[in-house]
Amino acid sequence: MIDRLHSSTSISRRTALALPLGLAGLSAAPRQAAAEPEPVRGGTMVMIVNPEPSTLAHYAVSAGNIPMIATQVYEGLLTYDWDQKPQPNLAKSWEVSPDGKTITFKLQTGVTFHNGAPFTSADVQYSFMEVLKKVHPTAPVVLAELIAVDTPDAETAVFRLANPAPYMMKAMAARDLPIVCKSVFEGTDPLSNPTANKPIGTGPFKFVSWERGQSLRLDRNEKYWKPGLPYLNRIVARFIPDAGTRSAAMETGEAHFAGYSAVNYADVARMKQNPILDTTTKGYEMTPALSVLELNSHHPHLDKKEVRQAIAYAIDRTFIRDNVMFGYGEPATGPLSRKFVGLYTDQVRRYDVPNRLEIANKLLDDSGLPRGADGSRFELHLEVNSFGEQWLRQAEYLKQALAQIGITVILRSEDTATWLRRAYTDYDYDISEPFLSQGIDPVVGLNRQYLSSQIRKGVTFVNNSFYANPKIDRLLGEGRTEIDPAKRTEIYHKVQQILTEDSPLIWLVDVQYVSIFNRKLHNHTTGPLGTYQAFETAWLEK
């Protein structure tokens, strides 16, 4: 396979290098000891996507279940190797000016969209300026500095920035910033474009049909610009609402791949025993996420730093990791995921000390919150995350854990709409237990949670703990534009130390997703974006 790629002439040198690199990385994945067999063409790969996406408008909605399908159809300018270094994709090369304010992309030639339209720099310009910048939910952060995209010729796109934006180059994959076809979108409102559910991209697979509640079919793009690819004839995404049934579909061989913990953590151990299946935690290196507790500091007791710290001490994060996440993930130590290698530090106030319960009780005693006759100091409501069973388990554990330090927790388990309204619009909550994706860079994950300017009524997953610290505001602002890696590390270490001390949120688990796959399926996880990138080199044993 590698040979075939090298011999192909129309692929740029860098791409040819990039693909084998991806394969080399894969050899570290489990059960790759023997030499990789020769890929076989054809076959239908069935993957489980959960929950079923409500829309495929990948350019306008960043829900986590959409890109598993959308990145088969849409492509980005770049892709990333296992070291998270940019690699060519729709852009065959690029150049960043020394001041960081101009990025020039040279584009692939001979690429066409699934509707036959040729791919040119006009599509790049339209995608970024007219679609993504206008309707993509994270554009206000990621594309904030982008002023214009110039198109000196059909093969060149020049991005002009107001200020350097070091994080932007990490968001150029299809998962974050997909390229859409200008002629399809021109003159329409991107939010009601007819291709929302019938995506047209340049990717290795073409959208065919979507039987809602059942499955979605993608067929091989015969005119795909990477010669010889993809190997699979078809990808079918299956939607199965019940977790037990999803596991069963993997075990009976009905489905070949389940990414993003579509299979419950609880079932993974059993899957590992199954001779036809295997698991991997690779492919999630660029998908950091933390489970946290948001604390409403408008509550008279939660306003006190010592009370928040006491709560942080009361919780056994390892217990949550072991029994709620069934051993996947790492106990969180602070506001940043370990996946931000270099920027992360554990040199912060540690809440996992042996005598943590004593400290917690003492902190509360000293704050003038003595236990009453029934052993309870005060009462807090906890809003249960509605996105799955495991969050109710976590809430049940938290209730017991906080009872140990005399805080009575009352659980409130409501549906998504009600929960989000309570926590982010009405602020009628004490503790909320969301699960926060940290994005491609701390700029995405930290800024929205801790900047005082991100206290925005009615906006979900932003600063609803009313945390306002001028020092943090300044540091996070500096982190945004700092290009020097060493200085950036210094800034974010300081941020982590201050935040951990103030404890505006409680950080629980640094989440680790897991993929289950059938051993007949090869080359499925070829980079740090894992399931969020195309299965162009995946193939099925007959």
Partner: protein, 275 residues
């Protein structure tokens, strides 16, 4: 009464049901004595199989399944009984008014009753719980709201049948007030069938509660059988005991309630015999 009891006792199934129900009631009363800790307490290593330190094993967080079932019996019974009583209350009110006053009132009320029978019951229950936010009171309201039409129709039928009888006419002739006629004369006469049908409603109510909890619409602060099943569902195959035992508890309780209801029906309501 004595003859009735004898007939009930002769019905072996009803007797069996009564014994099962009695056991459930023992569980309801003795739960805090047998398990002084609250049932959410993490008492041991998670996922211990039954027969070890814990009779029915532990769940994913290390809670005692047996304690959960004991406390769950309280929730099931509380919701089953309260919802049924509420449904009977509404049913008597609507059916009674319709059956007593007849005419246009009856037409309107019976239309409303039919209307509630047309709406898919479980869907309406889900909707009500979602609107009121999941808690024991909202579950009771939701279950009552979908259970009353049957009672209303029954009461109306009985009232219509009794209303023509001479003694009611006589009461009316003697100048007794409407309320007096309803509560002193009509209602006592149709109580037996109401009790018989109502006891069957308890079983349905317990099943609806379990279904709501299974879909994540139960009260998260109160231990219930449906909650244990939905928690055990994720680990059904590693830890079959978590979802299996509460399922059996539901089955036995509903079976017991229904058998007793059947027995009562035979004794109290000759017309329902053999059903």
């Amino acid at each position: 009464m004595r003859a009735g009891f004898a007939r009930f006792a002769r019905n072996r199934l009803a007797l069996f049901g009564a014994v099962v129900l009695l056991l459930v009631l023992v569980l309801v009363v003795s739960a805090p004595l047998a398990y002084p800790n609250n049932p959410f307490q993490l008492v041991g290593k998670p996922l211990q199989p039954p027969g070890g330190a814990f009779l029915l094993g532990t769940d994913t967080l290390g809670r005692d399944v047996a304690a959960g079932i004991a406390y769950g019996s309280r929730t099931s019974m509380l919701i089953g009984l309260s919802a049924t009583l509420a449904a009977i209350g509404i049913g008597i009110l609507v059916g009674g008014i319709a059956g007593y006053y007849r005419g246009r009132v009856e037409l309107v009320l019976m239309r409303v009753t039919e209307f509630f029978q047309t709406i898919p019951a479980f869907v309406l229950a889900i909707l009500i719980v979602a609107v009121l936010s999941p808690s024991v009171p909202s579950e009771i309201i939701a279950i009552a709201a979908v259970s009353w039409p049957g009672i209303a129709r029954l009461v109306r039928g009985e009232f219509v049948a009794l209303g023509g009888r001479e003694f009611v006419l006589a009461c009316a002739g003697l100048g007794a007030s409407d309320l007096r006629i309803i509560f002193r004369h009509l209602l006592p006469n149709c109580l037996p069938p109401i009790i018989a049908v109502g006891s069957l409603l308890i079983g349905t109510a317990i099943l609806i509660e379990a279904g709501l909890a299974f879909l994540g619409l139960g009260d998260p602060n109160v231990m219930s059988w449906g909650l244990i099943i939905s928690a055990g569902r994720a680990v059904l195959r590693q830890a079959w005991w978590i979802a299996t035992f509460p399922g059996i508890a539901i089955l036995l309780t509903v079976l017991g309630v229904n058998l007793v209801g059947d027995g009562l029906g035979e004794v109290l309501n000759p017309r329902l015999r053999n059903r």
